[in-house]
């Protein structure tokens, strides 16, 4: 109702103005002005020229300045004989003026205003400000913020553990062949986190191999031991860097995609639709994605190892004058199966962590499009942090086990 009335008024006002414009087209001022006149206790506010939003119209502070100087008037009235054009710019001025009048206890006489303008100002004031509506911006004390943060991080931890637990149950169901998911979803996820990622993984792995080789070459060639570049690159890639770099690429690529996809499904109520159909979203959506990452990460990791070693060989052969045969023989002699499996185990664990982070953040997504973006960002941050922490844990454990 209110909207309709407003639109009608605006339309009517627009027509009147075009006529006015035609009459006064030579004589009009370039922008809206305000002037003040006093007549026995009344302050007459003269509004003149075209008042357009964004055209540098006077602000209501002019009025409060005028009221503060000299004796305060009892009434305020308006003179709009010179007013040629107006839009929301003037309405905003007038509502602020009313506010000033109210706080200073000055009576306001709106008779001098054009009819449409008066109606719009009344409309703006029709519904009183809701109490408490502004309280969202209130300052919270430092202690309260610390407390809230601790409570929410505690909740986050229990949510994380709950999610991991449910996922474990779902994996158990999968092993027993009871899980409810679509094979085609699993295949699609495998394609997405496997084959589709090969290009970017090989590029990064190759460059990491080159970088490792350069780092080693500078030091080792001083001792005439450049052949050990092969050892450095081989062990570095296979034990750690292969799995690590793949994990970081997959966090950004797949983890974010999982979070965005599940977040969007949450926003569009697709996840609710699954739940109310008696299908567990965890089995239906999270399980195939987690399985795909767990299966594909070790394969990608082995592939990255290989490409990284090629990168190292590229530097070794091209710059350090090593022969391909020597480089390969040195690499083979230094690598053990334990190294290789160690790397693959790490990659598997990283894969699970990325899937958990991506899917959890997706499920936690709020109900707006900006929340989906947040979910994707948080998924990437969370998975990279978890991967690096896991990497540290592996280093300690492997060291302890003497691997």
């Amino acid at each position: 109702m209110a909207m309709l009335a407003m639109m009608q008024l605006l339309r009517r006002r627009g027509r009147a103005n075009t006529e006015l414009m035609a009459v006064n087209s030579q004589a009009i001022a370039r922008q809206g002005t305000v002037s003040f006149r006093r007549a026995d206790g009344t302050l007459i506010v003269g509004l003149a020229g075209p008042w357009h939003l964004g055209k540098d119209v006077p602000s209501a502070s002019v009025l409060s300045k005028e009221l503060s100087s000299g004796t305060p008037p009892r009434r305020l009235s308006f003179d709009t004989a010179q007013l040629t054009h107006w839009d929301s710019g003037l309405i905003s001025f007038l509502t602020q003026a009313s506010e000033i009048c109210r706080t200073r206890g000055i009576a306001e006489d709106r008779e001098g205003l054009p009819h449409g303008l008066r109606r719009l100002v009344e409309l703006a004031e029709a519904v009183p400000e809701k109490k408490g509506a502004r309280s969202a911006g209130l300052k919270v004390s430092f202690l309260a913020r610390v407390g809230n943060a601790s409570i929410s991080s505690g909740l986050a931890i229990s949510e994380f553990l709950g999610f991991v637990g449910e996922l474990t149950v779902a994996l158990g169901k999968f092993v027993r062949g009871k899980a409810r998911y679509r094979k085609i979803d699993l295949m699609e996820a495998i394609e997405q986190c496997g084959a589709d990622a090969v290009g970017i993984v090989s590029l990064i792995a190759f460059l990491v191999g080159v970088i490792l080789a350069f780092m080693g070459a500078v030091q080792l060639s001083q001792f005439g031991a450049s052949i050990y570049v092969a050892d450095l690159v081989g062990i570095g890639m296979v034990r750690d860097m292969g799995a690590m770099m793949t994990a970081i690429i997959m966090s950004g690529r797949t983890g974010a995609a999982f979070a965005a996809k599940l977040g969007t499904m949450k926003v569009t109520q697709e996840i609710d639709a699954l739940t109310t159909m008696g299908i567990s979203p965890l089995e239906f959506l999270v399980l195939p994605r987690t399985l795909a990452l767990i299966l594909m990460m070790p394969l990608l990791c082995v592939f990255a190892d290989l490409v990284g070693i090629l990168g190292g060989m590229f530097v070794g052969v091209g710059m350090l004058d090593l022969s391909v045969t020597n480089y390969v023989r040195e690499t083979i002699s230094t690598l053990t199966l334990v190294n290789l499996f160690g790397g693959m185990i790490k990659a598997t664990v990283y894969g699970a962590l990325i899937a958990i982070a991506g899917c959890l953040r997706g499920f936690q997504c709020g109900n707006s499009s900006s929340a989906v973006g947040d979910a994707a960002t948080r998924a990437v941050v969370m998975s990279i942090v978890m991967v690096v922490v896991a990497c540290g844990v592996f280093a300690v454990v492997f060291n302890f086990l003497g691997i």
């Binding site: 209110a2 309709l4 009335a5 409810r180 109520q269 609710d272 639709a273 109310t276 159909m277 008696g278």
Partner: protein, 269 residues
Amino acid sequence: MTPDATNQEPSTNDAQIIVRNVTMAYGSFVLMSGLNFVVRRGDIFIIMGGSGCGKSTLLRHLIGLKDPATGEIIYGDVNFTKAGPEVRERLLRRFGVLYQSGALWSSMTLAENVGLPLGEFTDLTPGQIREVAALKLSLVGLKGFEDFYPSEISGGMQKRAGLARAMALDPEVLFFDEPSAGLDPISSRLLDDLILELRDNLGATIVVVTHELASIFTIANNSVFLDAESRTQIASGDPHDMLAHSTDLRVRRFLTRGQEGGDSAGSHG
């Protein structure tokens, strides 16, 4: 509460859904409390009230997406609120839900959307599933759209496809969240007719969240009226009776589009 509410104390075997003393809350913020009503078998039951008063949240409670802070929701003789996950899942399969936006699974075609519950919960072969899915889609006027993805059809069609999916398992109870939101008057009218057909021919109980008066008076024979200000239900029963007999100003204003009871915003129009 209106006098009508007392008349409809049901014989329990007639009752499909019993909501008893339910309080809905987000954390410590109580949205609604003291909700008590009964949906009888074969009812078209409307949950109505102004915008933002908690109608959709009540629906989320009824379909188990949220649990009541206190009180209980009972389906037939099963206490849904206290049931374990397996009982709940079994019960959920007897419901169909049409979400506000349709909520079709965007990575599946319409036939796959409708067929998914059939594939999960029946022993039909893939060929049979496709046939049933095509049948359900033709019931909502989407014959020939089996292989379209949700993004390729209009909003109204998505809503109808969502209805086809909700009907996939011939549910006993169908829930509609704002079915006419975003539909033109004719589509909305057709949807109302479809709802009546479903009740008459499939014997389904139907619960609708809406504030479309035209719809309400066309389809409803029972309802509950939620009020945001007092945070509880202020009336229940047949909306036609409410319009005829209710003495509550808030109810009258709602049911007459603010023409009775001196609504200030209405006078501008």
